[in-house]
């Protein structure tokens, strides 16, 4: 058996690779969507902005992809952050609150992100310094965070949490050179995070901590500090998603903003090949994972199926990708392939 595994044909090496499946899934979804609706790939310019299904997929995937990038770092430490949706709700509520209070809108953005960072600090402290299991520690903020958002709305009366802000709405729904501004925001965040993870030792430390916290501590990595930092980064990314989503609807809605985004973000990381067992960060593949989820949603809507089918198709595709990624299932498929040839 071991001999067979070492001399794999090129085809089987590709089939056995991690990166190929999410990309293949994305391509398959696009091809199916293209064959169902012939003008799926059309891109046109309307009111100084590019429009089309492909642009739409990128545009709508941005908030999930932002959260998923932060989640990828946390999952890299063998953690998980369930509170990202609640953090987005808090940062959205802070935007409405500070705009009503009359702050300059650039400052409002900073307040919103600081609130998100504070949430990340809370999660990070519980996990890293109190040693509470990540899923339990972040459950606390997941349960209470939307309540905190609702309370912030109450501070200024709470009757009308809507606001007008050319600056923030520009960030979310505007466009520069025909391209939606939020794509630039996302690209900026992605590059910054990539530089932080891959051009400093932080990524290595995170992966070491996730693989084995005890050993990396002995090797001189401050595992607690690294874990703490991961949750702060995740909080900040969730805050950005809250800013984009809240500015999009220009109203703070803590009850339903970014609902289930934690689940989509975790899915994006897993589809991108990250393991919940920690030790690996794949930033680029995580973005592909978020695109797979959004492409699926858009393709379902375009194909004329009732929107109710979206969740079912999502579940089935997720299962399919997971089965392909599973070592056990792959070994089963491979041994069948081997038997045939």
């Amino acid at each position: 058996m071991a001999d067979k595994m070492t001399e794999l044909s090129p085809l089987r090496r590709i089939l056995g690779g991690r990166a190929i499946w999410p990309l293949l899934a994305l391509a398959a979804i696009l091809v199916v969507a293209g064959s169902v609706s012939p003008n799926f790939f059309d891109i046109r310019i309307v009111e100084g902005r590019l429009f089309g299904n492909l642009i739409d997929i990128l545009y709508r995937a941005v908030p999930t992809a932002m959260v998923a990038l932060g989640m990828a770092v946390v999952i890299g430490t063998k953690g998980i952050d369930l509170s990202v949706g609640a953090i987005a709700a808090v940062s959205g509520a802070v935007i409405a609150w500070r705009i009503q209070a009359g702050d300059p809108h650039g400052i409002v953005l900073i307040y919103a992100l600081l609130a998100a960072i504070a949430c990340g600090v809370w999660n990070g402290a519980l996990v890293a310094f109190l040693g509470i299991q990540p899923i339990v520690a972040t459950l606390i903020l997941m349960v209470s965070g939307r309540g905190i958002g609702m309370l912030i709305n109450l501070i200024y009366g709470g009757t009308d949490p809507s606001f007008q802000s050319p600056f923030l709405q520009g960030l979310s729904t505007g466009s520069i050179f025909y391209i939606p501004t939020r794509l630039f925001v996302f690209a900026g965040l992605f590059i910054a995070l990539w530089l932080l993870i891959r051009r400093t030792a932080l990524g290595l430390f995170v992966e070491a901590t996730g693989a084995n916290a005890g050993t990396s501590n002995l090797a001189g990595v401050n595992a607690r500090l690294i874990t703490f930092t991961a949750y702060v980064i995740c909080g900040l990314m969730a805050g950005w998603a809250g800013v984009i989503l809240t500015a999009d609807t220009h109203t703070s809605d803590p009850v339903s903003v970014a609902l289930y985004i934690e689940l989509d973000a975790i899915l994006a990381v897993v589809i991108g090949g990250g393991s919940l067992a920690g030790g690996r960060i794949y930033l680029g593949m995580t973005v592909i994972g978020a695109l797979v989820i959004q492409a699926l949603t858009t393709a379902t809507l375009i194909s004329g199926l009732p929107p109710e089918y979206n969740l079912i198709i999502k579940a089935l595709v997720v299962l399919f990708v997971l089965v392909l990624q599973s070592e056990n299932a792959r070994r089963g498929i491979m041994s069948k392939l081997g038997r045939k040839s």
Binding site: L139, L154, K314
Partner: protein, 322 residues
């Protein structure tokens, strides 16, 4: 006697103590709060969450997690309502739905064991799948009008004082008794604790990991389905969005009840009190009348925080895990 003072049960005693304390505080603030009527209402209003949480306790004791609870409650609800409108007897529908819950849970457990994928992700797919199926069954709110459903809701048992135990509370208490029996007096129960304590040791001791995993998720599924049946009969309707995020409340009840999410430590009875603490908090805030419902979420979060830190302390101080 010394068995009762086992340090393993410290988190459970703490949960009961906090429940009694909150109830007494409520009685101190509001006249008529400290009555069997309020107690009976808390049991009835939270019965479906507690039933689902009892099932989740098994899953969490085994070291897993089940996110599909809320969607299962919604799906069972719409099936009950739609089959009712097609003339089915609620009792027959309930049995079919319980069988479905068992089968669906068993399938989730099988996939988790066979593919060796984290339960979090598989049951997340289950959450999406069942919620999508809710919308395929119906996108409207459908009422349940059947004389058997009326008969069911007329069942009640008097408590000392003016309180009554409604049918949903009775179903919950019966399912709790069954769960306590399964957890503490059967081989399967012992296997669940062993699996959650240490999977490899359990395997070496001869626990059939696959069988236990499948049965654990099947138990979770049948309890979620029962919660859905109780919820549908209690509200006398089925609505495709019913039960959204209830998995969260169920997991929170389990944690408040003294079960460690890392598996292997905890009691089913604790979950009852965990669920009742959550119910008590919202009842108190509703009793107040002037507080915003946001406070229910925040106080629940604070309670969770307090309990989790307390467990951490108890585990570290008394070495409960050993």
């Amino acid at each position: 006697m010394s068995a009762l003072f086992n340090k393993k049960y410290l988190p459970f005693y703490a949960t009961v103590l906090v429940f009694v304390a909150i109830f007494l505080i409520g009685g101190g603030i509001y006249k008529n709060f400290l009555s069997s009527r309020v107690f009976g209402n808390i049991l009835a209003d939270n019965s479906f969450i507690i039933i689902a949480a009892i099932g989740a306790t098994f899953v969490i004791l085994s070291g897993g997690i089940d996110l599909s609870i809320g969607s299962m409650i919604g799906f069972v609800g719409v099936c009950m309502a739609v089959l009712d409108s097609m003339g089915w007897n609620p009792l027959a529908t309930s049995l079919v739905m319980l069988a479905f819950g068992f089968g669906f849970g068993a399938f989730q457990g099988w996939v988790i064991d066979e593919l060796d994928i984290q339960p979090f992700i598989i049951t997340l797919a289950g959450l999406f799948l069942l919620r999508g199926m809710c919308f395929m069954v119906t996108i409207n709110s459908v009422p349940i009008n059947h004389e058997w459903a009326d008969l069911y809701s007329d069942i009640k048992v008097g408590l000392p004082g003016k309180g009554i135990l409604r049918s949903s509370a009775l179903v919950m208490l019966a399912s709790l008794a069954v769960a306590i029996f399964i957890a503490h007096f059967t081989r399967f129960g012992a296997n669940v604790y062993a699996l959650g304590g240490d999977k490899e040791s359990a395997r070496l001791m001869g626990v059939n990991i696959k069988r236990t995993t499948v049965l654990v998720y099947a138990t979770g599924g049948i309890y979620s389905a029962l919660a859905g049946v109780v919820y549908a009969l209690y509200t006398k309707s089925g609505y495709p969005l019913a039960g959204s995020t209830l998995e969260l409340a169920a997991i929170a009840s389990v944690v408040l009840g003294g079960t460690l999410l890392s598996g292997g430590v905890g009691t089913v009875a604790g979950t009852l009190f965990g669920g009742m603490i959550l119910g008590l908090i919202s009842t108190l805030i509703i009793f107040n009348g002037s507080l915003n419902s946001a406070w229910i979420l925040i106080v629940s979060g604070i309670m969770l925080f307090g309990f989790i830190v307390m467990h951490r302390f108890l585990v570290g101080f008394f070495g409960i895990r050993d």
